[in-house]
């Protein structure tokens, strides 16, 4: 049995509050509901004497939001994939701090249902994130729970954005893409994703409840945007052991699922 083959996998479903703002589409913030799913795996690696873990976090959300007087709506969606490594500082047997970096890929859209030639705005950005995590295994009256807090902050990246008054017709039909990919860092993309979760064993299963505070902001090409999400999520955690089959030998038919 090898430590790097134990995998924690969690699939979560959530709903919460969304606030979407994009001055390319409207000077107003739109508020409404966010629906989200996420899937995360985490396991140890053999790096640095087995002190480094790898996290693979995928999430997708869609929101339906309304302007202040509620006579117009937007749809917005984003797919986000984080993949990276954390060094684990084991402070005690039950408490550890993790610090590392993540590749943070994002793609999505905001669609304003009333606008004419600027009905939608694309979201596409890639970042290198600084990431920190605290994991605490504790017991409340002999009931074991796991608390986790994680924060990911984009430090450096690139982002697609139309120029201030540029139409997507000019970018994609006429092919003028000058200046539509910009360098980003903390000064023009002060963003953070934070997650607080608690794992509770229920029977033979482990249920995870989490609160995700997703704050994506940008100030690029004089276009201001933000997408705030406060999302409550619930799902199951599975602890798996990876079996590698380098030779590709088929498993005995008696134990194969398919």
């Amino acid at each position: 049995m090898q430590a790097n083959r134990y995998v924690m996998r969690a699939t979560m479903y959530g709903v919460g509050f969304a606030n979407v703002y994009d001055t390319y589409l409207s000077p107003q913030e739109y508020v409404g509901t966010d629906f989200r799913i996420s899937r995360e795996t985490m396991r140890m690696t053999k790096l640095f004497d087995g002190n480094v873990s790898v996290q693979n976090f995928f999430q997708a959300n869609i929101s339906y939001t309304h302007n202040k007087v509620d006579n117009n709506n937007t749809f917005a969606g984003l797919v986000n994939w984080n993949y990276g490594l954390h060094y684990q500082f084991r402070i005690t047997d039950n408490f550890k701090l993790l610090a590392g970096g993540l590749a943070d890929l994002n793609g999505g859209f905001v669609y304003n249902l009333r606008n004419t030639n600027n009905p939608a705005s694309a979201r596409a950005y890639i970042n290198l994130d600084a990431s920190g995590m605290a994991i605490w295994h504790l017991k409340i009256k002999n009931y074991p729970i796991v608390l986790r807090y994680q924060a990911n902050i984009p430090v450096i990246g690139v982002m697609f954005s139309p120029n201030y008054g540029q139409s997507y017709y000019e970018i994609f039909t006429l092919g003028n893409s000058s200046g539509v990919v910009q360098f980003t860092s903390l000064h023009n993309q002060p963003s953070i994703r934070q997650m607080l979760s608690v794992d509770c064993p229920i029977g033979s299963s482990k249920v995870r409840f989490s609160y995700l505070w997703d704050m994506q902001q940008s100030r690029v090409n004089q276009i201001n945007t933000h997408t705030y999400g406060h999302v409550f999520m619930v799902g199951f955690v599975q602890d798996l052991y990876r079996i590698r089959n380098k030779k590709g030998t088929p498993l005995p038919s008696a134990i194969r699922a398919y």
């Binding site: 000077p27 202040k68 610090a99 920190g132 120029n163 008054g165 006429l174 000058s178 002060p190 704050m215």
Partner: protein
């Protein structure tokens, strides 16, 4: 016993842990103080007035070209505001303010009304009579996409395209041009065509050129200043790789040929076998964007200007090659002066 090396490593480990904690805290504090939020305007007459004035001030693309003193407009129309004015009165003040832009692409939309500036065609001869066009088409005309078409009895093809929002695909154009292959020439009537999609304009025009042709330029605003514009980007008309018309073409225009239609006429006039006949077009060369006010009223405005191939503005229209107006005595007899002038031109 703890030796020096262990002590050093323990200090190093502690330093790393402190740093590990401190860096996220510093970053968190930085992010927390860097919220990017909306500029809030109160939903009252003054707030809505200021929001609209600011949208135009920062995003409208013709303030300098039209030599409009937008600050002075603020002063003039501000005086007409009162704190307790009705929505109808506010709408009237805002509409009047927008009318100073003299732009058919500028509108304000409330649930009750739509503010518009239509002087660019309402103040000029109509030069179009729909019932006469229907007489020319008869009842046996064909419809392909947004185009109605027929071969007139003197072997001239006639295509009436009433709105560039109505799609016209390559399949439609193949059928139309194949049907008209026997004709001496064709008339493309875009009178009263108020515009629509630029892609329909270029798809249609691509059937009349054999070579890549420079037809104009586009710019966009790069910032809030009235003169913050990008460098011009050339717009080329690429020849279609399907059926291309090689004989003469007359494009019929009037003051209501606007926006994407203005763009179509601008492309067509650079092609050697094409003649523009009729009245000056209505213009409308600024690609419109939308925005909104705190009370939910939607506003549309020109955001990105198009120019012709010599970098001239075409916001106020394009002159025809041959100026022809509808004669009232012809109109009384059910004759379309402009269609007849085009037929004569194509037969010579």
């Amino acid at each position: 016993m703890i030796n020096n090396r262990d002590r050093k490593e323990s200090k190093k480990g502690r330093a790393i842990r402190i740093l590990t904690l401190l860096i996220p805290i510093i970053l968190l504090l930085f992010i927390a103080s860097s919220c990017i939020r909306e500029d809030e305007y109160t939903n009252n007459p003054q707030g809505n007035f200021d929001a609209l004035w600011t949208i135009i001030d920062e995003k409208y693309c013709f303030l300098e070209y039209k030599q409009i003193n937008w600050d002075s407009i603020h002063t003039v129309y501000q005086k007409r505001l009162t704190a307790d004015m009705s929505n109808y009165d506010l709408f009237e003040v805002l509409s009047d303010m927008l009318a100073t832009l003299k732009d058919g692409h500028v509108n304000l939309y409330s649930a009750a009304n739509q503010a518009r500036y239509w002087d660019w065609f309402e103040d000029y001869p109509r030069n179009f009579n729909e019932s006469i066009v229907e007489d020319y088409l008869g009842t046996d005309y064909r419809i392909a996409g947004g185009a109605k078409y027929k071969i007139l009895d003197d072997n001239v093809g006639y295509i009436y395209y009433e709105l560039f929002s109505n799609g016209i695909g390559n399949g439609n154009l193949d059928e139309i041009l194949q049907h008209m292959a026997i004709c001496n020439g064709i008339i493309i009537d875009v009178r009263n065509n108020g515009g629509g999609n630029l892609s329909n304009s270029s798809t249609f025009a691509a059937r009349f050129t054999n070579q890549k042709t420079l037809t104009g330029y586009i710019r966009h605003k790069t910032g809030k200043g009235h003169n913050d514009f990008s460098d011009p980007v050339a717009i080329y008309l690429e020849p279609s790789n399907s059926i291309r018309w090689q004989k003469k073409v007359v494009v019929l225009t009037n003051r209501h040929s606007y926006s994407a239609t203005n763009d179509f006429v601008n492309s067509m006039r650079y092609l050697p076998q094409v003649t523009i006949l009729g009245d000056k077009t209505g213009g409308g060369s600024g690609m419109p964007f939308s925005s909104e006010l705190p009370n939910g009223w939607s506003v549309r405005f020109s955001a990105s200007p198009h120019f012709d191939a010599e970098m001239n503005q075409i916001e106020f229209g394009i002159d025809p090659d041959i100026k022809v107006d509808m004669l009232s005595q012809d109109e009384d007899k059910g004759i379309d002066t402009m269609i007849e002038a085009a037929r004569t031109l194509l037969k010579n």
